[in-house]
Symmetry: C2
Subunit: 165 residues, 2 copies
DNA sequence: TAAAATTGGTTTCAAATGTAACCACTGCAG
DNA sequence: CTGCAGTGGTTACATTTGAAACCAATTTTA
């Protein structure tokens, strides 16, 4: 017990868990709703999965990255990146070119086709985001930004230092 | 185009998507980090998956629900509920009793064992939540609550009224 | 009161995902 | 140089997940 509870555990009136107020639960529901909606928008229009779209989003801004760089940037799994990359390659959305200075490494870039799709998706993505944000006041947006940052820090700490207790 | 943009689309300086600032992305990363950490805590201690734990959380507060009721309460998938229920049943954490007034329906409840586990997990769950919340000031908690509510409303609207555009 | 349509719940099948093993290459220690 | 630890990336396999088909019981409706 990390909190200093002055009451004996057993006799304290048991306050049940209100799932609908439980932050991890709410985050999960919210995130799933949002992701699913957007995934559907990408998917039906461009046959892109979310990981694939993320890869494109990064490559659109930072050319000449390797898969490993992408892993670092996105915090996504190695394998997920590999699969996304090879599917994007198959669709001719990105190019892989061998790095002469390290023949294990592949330098990735959007192809012309890839960039076209990218240019079309960015506004779509921003539209979704704007739509979400439009329900918030400027102050709230600011607050949300900083709150997410803090929560992320805490959750990150779990992963690094191990779980609570 | 729903916003009134006074500039010609093509000539506006293209502002790329900053994935690390893109709300849907950040929500997803945050939610996954949190869920995974907690899932691990439940899983290693009680062999509970997240859906299973959610079912218990609801049943702990509202006895005598059916699977369909759970679907409604949690917004989880029918199949996920079915699987969680049958695994919980197998572990003797919940009981299924046939509803005489409708023989398709099964009335679910925590068993004694189930309730014991429930009573032990609730504090654990709350500890995680407290730990997250401890990084926020009281005002921020309040803000977060209302912000989530608003975002949820917007995302909900997508599901109901169909996607943007 | 006999179809037809609905509802509660499970099963089946395919696709998505994660873990671990794996190859190919690099770089460094001896 | 050779050996071998570490890195970039893919493959294989087991597990999870979701969609749709499905069965059984119930309600509707004609």
């Amino acid at each position: 017990m990390t909190t200093d509870n002055h009451f004996a555990q057993e006799t304290v009136p048991r306050d049940d868990l209100l799932l609908e107020k439980f932050l991890p639960y709410r985050l999960s529901v919210l995130s799933n709703r949002v992701s699913n909606a957007i995934a559907q928008a990408y998917g039906t229009r461009f046959e892109l999965t979310i990981p694939a779209w993320r890869v494109m989003a990064i490559l659109g801004r930072f050319p000449d990255l390797s898969a490993a760089d992408l892993v670092e940037q996105t915090a996504m799994d190695k394998v997920a990146i590999s699969r996304a990359v090879s599917s994007l390659f198959k669709n001719d959305y990105i190019s892989r070119s061998e790095d002469p200075s390290d023949r294990r490494r592949q330098v990735l870039n959007l192809t012309e086709l890839g960039r076209e799709v990218y240019e079309r998706i960015v506004p779509l993505a921003q539209q979704y985001e704007n739509d979400l944000m439009s329900s918030l006041s400027p102050e709230e947006r600011q607050q949300l930004d900083s709150i997410i940052e803090k929560l992320m820090g805490r959750a990150q700490a779990w992963a690094e230092r191990g779980l609570i207790d």
